[in-house]
Assembly symmetry: C2
Homo-oligomer: 308 residues x 2
């Protein structure tokens, strides 16, 4: 019985080493060098090539290396009946919150503008906005959204949330679908932390951007599929948005010729808002490996229909 590691754009070796350090008897195969496909029952997966899981007749579980699972679910050729799990990791949640706080502070303090001015040897004062006067609207108020919201709130930002239904969590008002416009019209900095579902794909579009406060700013740290890329350019160029920080893209790595790279009001980071540390999540993966073997319910299993 074997564990398969499938890791595109990430280093599989650190996963093998970390898993072996927990249990040196594990039988681990690394894609694409797989001699014994029939032995594979459990795959640990990041952005696998579509269709490959058809080649493992005894596969029972595909475990995402990250919090997101859309990179798995978007494959139309997944074997039937395979269970999908996601990572739930406090460190991953905390790292994401830190990155969102960093972006919100950088926006209010004009850090990117000052950095651009430095490239021109240009000493140019610009007054700043304080967190107390800045409303951050968080779209998607699950685990990640709530943690980011509370971190921002603790650092004196005004915070509102958006989720399927309205509620108040730890003093923060979360607006539901019926009140989406009310949420948008208050928002200076829009942070997207939604899961990818058929409903949320393309939700960051021109119509939405127009409803935000004048000169609002977008931070997308969820998935590239949420954003209609041309609509972002249009909304910035027409003055509805003052700019955007994007950590995720429809195609990753972002192609060299992509217009985002060169846009002076768009900051590109290479999907580093939160990066899974194998050490920090090996235990939950191995727990599920054991649960699978003994036929128990898995932890952090994804509802495939909902998509999260």
């Amino acid at each position: 019985m074997s564990i398969l590691i499938v890791s595109q754009n990430r280093n599989p070796k650190s996963w093998v080493d970390t898993l072996k350090s927990k249990n040196q008897d594990l039988d681990i195969q690394v894609y694409p060098e797989v001699d014994r496909p029939d032995d594979v029952e459990f795959a640990i997966s990041w952005k696998h090539p579509e269709g490959i899981y058809q080649n493992y007749p005894n596969l029972k579980v595909i475990a995402s290396m990250g919090a997101g699972v859309n990179h798995i679910l978007k494959d139309d050729n997944l074997p039937k009946g395979v269970k999908i799990t996601r990572i739930v990791d406090e460190q991953l949640t905390k790292d994401m919150s830190d990155f969102v706080l960093l972006q919100c502070l950088a926006v209010t303090r004009n850090l990117f503008l000052h950095w651009q001015n430095q490239q021109k040897s240009n000493w140019k004062l610009k007054s700043y906005q304080t967190p107390e006067k800045t409303t951050v609207g968080i779209m998607g108020y699950g685990n990640l959204g709530q943690a980011a919201g509370e971190k921002l709130h603790k650092n004196e930002f005004k915070v509102i949330g958006y989720a399927n239904s309205s509620k108040t969590i730890n003093e923060i008002s979360v607006y539901g679908k019926q009140n989406m416009d009310e949420f948008l019209t208050q928002t200076d900095i829009l942070v997207c932390l939604l899961p990818v579902t058929s409903e949320t794909k393309g939700v960051l579009n021109f119509d939405l951007f127009k409803k935000l406060k004048p000169n609002a700013y977008l931070v997308n740290v969820a998935r590239g599929e949420h954003l209609v890329e041309n609509d972002l350019i249009k909304a910035i160029n027409e003055g509805f948005l003052s700019g955007a920080s994007l950590d995720v893209f429809q195609e990753e790595p972002l192609p060299e010729s992509h217009k985002f790279w060169e846009h002076s009001q768009i900051q590109v980071t290479p999907h580093i808002a939160s990066m899974t540390d194998p050490n920090s999540v090996a235990e939950q993966l191995l727990t599920n490996f054991e649960k699978m073997k003994s036929g128990e319910d898995l932890i952090h299993e994804v509802d495939v229909d909902k998509g999260y």
Copy 2:
């Protein structure tokens, strides 16, 4: 009896408007258009040209527009007996803490490196350090230092302080002069928030940089006089420091030809870590104006010998 506004590189109009809005009967003159120098008893001052205060025979108080007063005290031709005051403003303190937190998060998350990579359309992952594993050493543990330290601590950074004498304030260990080396050898990010005195001028020098943890990073948000500029370049180029964020300089605005502008490991911001909002400090200035008139003790008066 008249108030003089002396404001180099800053807009005097917002000061006049704000003071007038509090008391429209105030007699305010703006340097250099001063018709009645004999009427001036109270000056509100930012980076005045050296020697000018000799021209006001009845001047009693020079009030700094900011928390620092070295820009006043360094003038060897101040009239004798004139009192100096500084601004103490919670908002100014808070703004400074926010900026220090922003810099520390930007450093740990490699934000400047990612921006540089963006200019080259270069998608390049780099793993980050978490706040929990990053020790920020704060030199100068007065009002500003303590506020920054507590904000960083609240955001899970490891924080230590350095001051004249050792103490523990709200769980944070502050090292005294005898233990400076112990402070330095633990420090990943060194934040300078010292006042400028004869002892602290040039304290940020090569010998000090060599004692920090390997690849340490400097954040100077105090005053340009603390830093030996060539020593910084040397320490970065020889690999003792990984970089620096500088908000203050020996000459401001930083001259166009200065080598800091183009150094890829130095981030320049134009003295904007905390900017005095006239609205937020007009009251304390006018309070001192009234106290001066009635011969009472001033608030926030500076000990000229100590320099703070």
